[in-house]
Symmetry: C2
Subunit: 330 residues, 2 copies
């Protein structure tokens, strides 16, 4: 097994040459798989199959049923030769597959600027709104004829990673690719209904309990919401029911910092922070040992709800005070 | 004043010739103006100004402040010559301007298939997801150089009429136009934040009260929500705070018919119905004297909340029973 620490950075032409040459692919997604890692993996699988390649997708976690419409379960017997990780910025995000594949990732296709260059070869496009954008470019360059299944997989990646073309990561290319996928017959409105407009009753109940107990701090510039184990038990909400809650904490007028505390287990809270500029979520969470992006970051705090809340509120307060001091000077 | 009943249907070339020839424009929007009628009107104004034309936009209602970023208030003194209505499917939608302009609309630019052909000239593109798509095509055909202000106005129309590219009215053209507007430098993520991700505290409180009292009927296939005068008073929510509530009624898994009852005044309810196929919202509301589209329709019922609810529930029940009978046969 190659255990090389050198990561070769590939151009679009390089990766296409490599993909044509190799066969017997295992495509890995990240843990707790979302629409982009899955859409990219299955889009790539369906595309490579059109080149006559053998491909299987492997994920350490169960794939939520809402993605069934593009999951290609066709299996074929082969000895894995080429390991590709898609939308996986750090090898640790492989979850339980980490140890099995450490040092053995032949190719990594990604769009995270924070990519740790853990693979032997890397195709990175940090301007891509979604990893599915990278996969689209690759399949297009390979001259593969897109069909509706590929379109549905890639559109799911584009759409879910951009909040349906809402966020700041969208570029004209994102829309150009979407236009192309429409021409191929993508089931976009149905996909968006499943991804954005369908909530379970448990989810609705959970949202209500969480909003009922929401708090506002620092002249309403900080909103705090908690999904305690108690709330999770009472509403019976699943992990996928809890996705998409953190952006709600930033959606009230005037709020600059939205905090969501999710109790993972008794006395352990995963904190998600969403901010608006100039507040830097990554810097704030960094004070508690976490990190992320400017507008979205996270950290984990051990302690009671009150302790976790105090810790993150202290960090937010400091950032708001720096902001106020700054605006006094200018 | 011409009171002709003949409505000349224009091609793209026709309307461009007409717009070049005329001057001193008054552009009318529909009542209770939304992002598409306003984005189309101001996009057209800014575009025609680039041809050296004099243009003013007139709306019978106050324009919500959230649209300030593309409102062009520059006035110039001129005697109105050419009256254009944009995104106005029926002359009655001019509200208080109806009487003043009846029979005097020189040109109507619209995308509603239900357009009543009330104007002297009509440019209708029923395939356009938003009227802003029509205005884009017109300005493009006129060879106008787009700038960021025009892009912001037109993008607002595209984005708000499609739920940010989420709904079934989106086509590849919608995305192609969006891509073009990105290249011009549209402030898309900021616009989407204002349009989709910013709620007032009153709105959040109203949503919670409405969801707290939501009811489920007919094996959870129908969800009913009420925004009573009491809720409106207690939360202090404005008319614009109440926009976007009806789609919530259809967002719970398994719901085929979502009913929102908004109490307009003591004993009068505006009912909004949202359905999923095969339920036909327009047919159901038709039974109560209303109408609309297949997936979104409305009607007004005089009576108490209980009476209004019974009336619409009876109509929904009938439709569901027809559906069940139909599926027994097949």
């Amino acid at each position: 097994m190659p255990m090389s620490n050198v990561c070769e950075v590939l151009t679009l032409a390089d990766i296409c040459a490599y993909l044509k040459e190799r066969d017997n692919y295992v495509v890995l997604t990240h843990t707790n798989p979302d629409g982009d890692t899955l859409g990219s993996a299955y889009g790539l699988k369906l595309g490579l199959k059109k080149l006559g390649k053998r491909v299987q997708v492997v994920c350490c976690d169960e794939i939520p049923h809402k993605y069934d419409y593009f999951i290609d379960d066709s299996e074929c017997d082969f000895v894995p030769e080429t390991v590709v990780a898609v939308d996986v910025a750090d090898i640790k995000l492989l979850g339980d597959l980490y140890e099995r594949f450490e040092g053995r990732i032949d190719l990594n296709i990604d769009h995270h600027v924070s990519n740790t260059h853990y693979a032997n070869r890397l195709y990175l496009d940090a301007d891509a709104a979604a990893c599915a954008e990278c996969v689209y470019e690759i399949l297009d360059e390979l001259g593969i004829e897109f069909d509706r299944d590929i379109a549905n997989a890639l559109y799911t990646g584009l759409s879910t990673d951009t909040g349906c073309f809402k966020y700041g990561n969208v570029t004209d290319r994102t829309h150009r690719i979407a236009a192309k996928l429409y021409r191929i017959g993508v089931d976009a409105s149905e996909i968006n209904r499943i991804m954005f407009d369908t909530k379970s009753k448990s989810r609705v109940q959970m949202e209500m309990m969480v909003l009922n107990s929401a708090e506002f701090h620092f002249e309403d510039r900080c909103m705090v919401m908690a999904i305690t184990l108690d709330v999770q038990r009472k509403t019976g909400c699943s992990r996928s029911d809890m996705e998409g809650v953190p952006p709600m904490s930033r959606s009230v007028e005037g709020v600059l910092a939205g905090v969501t505390l999710k109790e993972n287990r008794e006395g352990e809270f995963k904190i998600s922070l969403r901010t608006y500029a100039p507040l830097d979520a990554s810097a704030i969470c960094g004070k508690l040992g976490g990190g992320g992006h400017k507008a979205a970051a996270g950290c984990t705090v051990i302690g009671s709800l009150e302790e976790a809340k105090s810790a993150i509120l202290a960090a937010v307060k400091e950032a708001l005070e720096e902001l106020d001091a700054g605006s006094d000077i200018t």
